[in-house]
Symmetry: C2
Subunit: 143 residues, 2 copies
DNA sequence: CTGAATCCAGGAAGATACTG
DNA sequence: CAGTATCTTCCTGGATTCAG
């Protein structure tokens, strides 16, 4: 996934070094994980607890089933989301965050806060399907 | 730039609300600003001080002049980078961060740290043209 | 030195219809 | 309910060439 050419400058998404050892840029990696369409929103909402496919569909209203499935599959392959199917009738599938997925919350929250400030400075108004982040435990709020 | 359709769920990159008021998702906005190719690397390196076009070319080795120019122009249009041309012969152009551009550093640093942990857990090795982030002032290191 | 102009390929994403 | 299957469009980014 995301295989590119192999140059030390953009060693982000999986270049091959001359000696055959692949290296990755942490920032590009992180961006690649949550940069996909709806991914940030999906992860954000799953922070509150597991959701099933139909519930996610309502949250990410404009995503076609195909897109939603793809994003979820990628998040699953990347180890941020886990999928659990229940053998019931009708079928029930629940998506939840892995511990790795949960651990990315501070970054999303930081982006939310910084983005809000940026938008304010640009004279634009905030409005999205995410809910504002909870205040962090004292000490990290200074980010 | 980045005009899309207009749905409250993906109200990230500039949807039009029914009443004509555009709203934006802070997280999508932030991702849009640094998500472009080489943008994170460019901003990261400019943290250390202004750089001219040729210097950036050496840092972002695999970027063609066209791409580098485009990324820089977008960063400039978004208010993160400022461009200064000196009427000399030969021409000299310096790029530097605006205050808004500098203010995004904690987010990049947080992504660097989280991404490093993620890569470690995946058994992959880190290696990129960025330099590891400096330690933050005590208190915010707990991000 | 710092780009601009042009052309092109590949992947991401949208629309629509269908299924176990 | 929770997806798949196709087809198409769009946009990002790459390669190359030329210019002030």
């Amino acid at each position: 996934m995301m295989e590119k050419h192999g140059c030390e400058c953009c060693a982000g998404r999986s270049p091959a070094e001359p000696d055959g050892v692949k290296t990755y840029c942490p920032v590009e990696t992180t961006l690649g994980l949550i940069g996909g369409k709806y991914k940030a929103l999906i992860v954000w909402r799953l922070m509150e607890g597991p959701l099933r496919f139909s519930q996610l569909s309502k949250i990410v209203k404009c995503a076609s089933p195909r897109m939603l499935t793809r994003q979820l599959r990628e998040l699953e392959a990347d180890g941020l989301v886990s999928r659990r199917a229940y053998a019931e009738v009708p079928v029930r599938v629940e998506y939840s965050l892995t511990r790795m997925g949960e651990s990315i919350y501070p970054i999303l929250a930081a982006m939310y806060r910084w983005g809000s400030g940026y938008l304010a400075e640009q004279g634009k108004s905030v409005g999205c399907a995410m809910r504002p982040p909870q205040d962090e435990p004292a000490g990290s709020s200074g980010l």
